[in-house]
């Protein structure tokens, strides 16, 4: 088992790895986005997408669509296609790729669980909620999430059997911090708090799994997951900016690893003015270049810069061969592509075509 990856990787995973490169070629390029932006109506956009010049990924999906077009149709069609492709890859995968791919869906599962639970608290219809869930993150018992009434029952009855049980297990055991919990509850951050704790547990497990894999995978995934943790830290800081929380309790929500953890997280936790976040980011080489481009401070802008950075990371996975990070990179690129298409569709349907280029994130 100790032979170099170059020699042994392709025996099991060469086919899937190469298949992903094909997907990457199918991604819509900057030029093609410009062409898409020229469309006058959603019907035009659909034709353009079906057209061979663009990504043929959508072809079969769109031809069946006869009803009037909404932006949500674009989202639904594209994500269905993504889920199809993902599952096709997953069914052919053997260990440890299949576990790796399962990890990729867990992030969406967590989001879905939080969505359903918080939707239930606001007494929304289950069917509406399930429609809103990301299709990659659906699992068998998700519809029974609304049955239990307490967090303990929820874990015991529903989540213990789901793939998410390890993360919840870690979270619920961690919650002996009742006062803190209350503080978050009062501050209306309860949803974010849960989601954040889960996501951190998830990233931790994922990282531990990646460390067990070969050198190339763990090195690349370490960078990516550290960045993901940092991104969450920045996001939660921005979301909680208007809320009165002590820096200490804020630190607890932030992940305990990542490049910002050692260097700038405390500044981040004390974040009150926009300057602070920049100061925290400047301490880390990855974020340093970004913080200098943060001339205009706004949440959207930071969001966009972080997104671009993530796409850069995803692209580097394609520069290397014989590792599993490509699977992660490919999935994220496809998800971003869907967001881009939805943005274009949104711009067209609202008649704001001049904004098309503002929302598209890509890095070729």
């Amino acid at each position: 088992m100790n032979c170099p990856e170059e020699v042994s990787f392709n025996v099991k995973d060469g086919f899937l790895d190469a298949a992903l490169r094909g997907f990457r070629r199918g991604l819509i390029s900057a030029q093609e986005y410009r062409n898409l932006g020229q469309c006058d109506s959603l019907d035009d956009l659909k034709l353009q997408l079906v057209n061979n010049h663009c990504n043929t990924d959508f072809e079969s999906e769109f031809l069946n669509e006869t009803a009037s077009l909404h932006t949500s149709t674009f989202f639904a069609n594209c994500s269905n296609k993504l889920v199809d492709d993902f599952n096709r890859i997953r069914y052919q995968a053997s260990e440890p790729v299949s576990t790796f791919l399962n990890f990729l869906t867990h992030g969406h599962m967590i989001d879905n669980v939080i969505l359903v639970i918080s939707g239930k608290n606001h007494e929304l219809d289950l069917k509406v909620l399930l429609d809103k869930c990301h299709p990659l993150g659906l699992f068998d018992s998700i519809s029974s999430l609304t049955v239990p009434s307490t967090m303990n029952d929820l874990y015991r009855l529903v989540l213990a059997d789901s793939p998410l049980s390890p993360y919840f297990g870690e979270c619920t055991s961690d919650i002996n911090l009742d006062e803190l919990n209350l503080e978050f509850m009062r501050s209306k951050l309860y949803k974010e708090w849960n989601q954040e704790m889960l996501a951190i547990a998830y990233l931790k497990e994922f990282l531990a799994f990646c460390y067990k894999l070969d050198g190339g995978t763990s090195a690349l995934m370490r960078n990516i997951l550290y960045f993901e943790a940092d991104r969450r830290a920045i996001n939660i800081t921005m979301n909680s900016s208007g809320i009165d929380l002590s820096p200490d309790s804020r630190c607890l929500v932030l992940s305990k690893y990542g490049t910002l953890y050692t260097r700038g997280q405390f500044e981040l936790a004390q974040f009150e003015v926009p300057e602070r976040i920049r100061a925290a980011m400047r301490k880390d080489p990855t974020f340093c270049s970004m913080s200098t481009s943060l001339i205009v401070y706004s949440e959207d802008f930071i969001e966009r810069i972080l997104c671009e950075q993530e796409m850069k990371f995803c692209d580097t996975t394609f520069q290397e061969q014989f590792n599993y990070a490509t699977f992660y990179g490919c999935l994220k690129r496809r998800e971003q592509e869907i967001r881009n298409i939805v943005w274009v569709a949104e711009c067209i349907s609202q008649g704001q075509k001049h904004k098309v280029n503002d929302g598209i994130v890509l890095n070729m």
């Binding site: 170059e6 020699v7 392709n10 025996v11 060469g14 086919f15 899937l16 790895d17 190469a18 298949a19 992903l20 490169r21 094909g22 997907f23 990457r24 070629r25 199918g26 394609f318 061969q321």
Partner: protein, 197 residues
């Protein structure tokens, strides 16, 4: 078995008189008594066996990537068959050298009265073995090298077709490595002479 008897008469086979882990004198004695024809045959086996192992491994590496990349871009399959052919060439080198070596190992050498073989025959046996090992190992690693580069060529082609020719140049250099082994093996095989022994 003359020499063996000599050793026995001189006080029996005293295993390891020097006290080390390996008794080198006894080992040398064993080697001297191995038939040079065995070395020659082992050389031929190494030449073809290791070469085919390298070629097969290379095809495995390049082929799996090629098939995967061809899922979305079928046109790439025929173009990238050249990688497979390069790997195949590695096995052909092994076949060529194995044929050359085995045609030279014709007459079984005769033992001299004291049980050993003539220096000529022993030199021929060792030369055949070394030539076979040279070409075998050279082609084993050459095959893996061409396979890895070939799989990179398929992946590069899938992402950006203009890269194909550039990677192909690297692949050609890789496949030249096996040829070096072949040249050295052919030169070595020039000293093989079982008939004159």
């Amino acid at each position: 078995m003359g020499r063996y008897d000599d050793v026995r008469r001189a006080g029996g086979l005293n295993i390891n008189p020097s006290g080390g882990i390996i008794d080198w004198r006894y080992l040398a004695f064993l080697f001297e008594n191995v038939d040079p024809y065995f070395f020659a045959s082992a050389g031929v086996a190494a030449a073809i066996g290791l070469s085919v192992l390298g070629a097969a491994w290379g095809i495995l590496i390049a082929g799996s990537s090629l098939i995967g990349a061809a899922v979305r871009t079928p046109s790439l399959a025929s173009k990238n068959l050249i990688s497979i052919i390069f790997c195949e060439a590695v096995a052909v080198y092994g076949v060529v050298v194995a044929v050359v070596l085995s045609t030279k190992t014709t007459v079984a050498p005769i033992r001299l009265p004291d049980g050993s073989y003539s220096p000529r025959a022993m030199a021929s046996g060792y030369a055949t073995f070394a030539a076979g090992l040279t070409v075998g190992l050279a082609n084993l690693f050459c095959g893996v090298c061409v396979g890895v580069v070939g799989s990179a060529a398929a992946l590069a082609d899938a992402q950006n077709p203009t890269l194909f020719v550039k990677v192909l140049v690297i692949e050609i250099f890789g496949s030249a490595l096996g040829l070096f082994g072949v040249i050295v093996a052919i030169i070595m095989s020039g000293s093989i002479d079982f008939k004159g022994a």
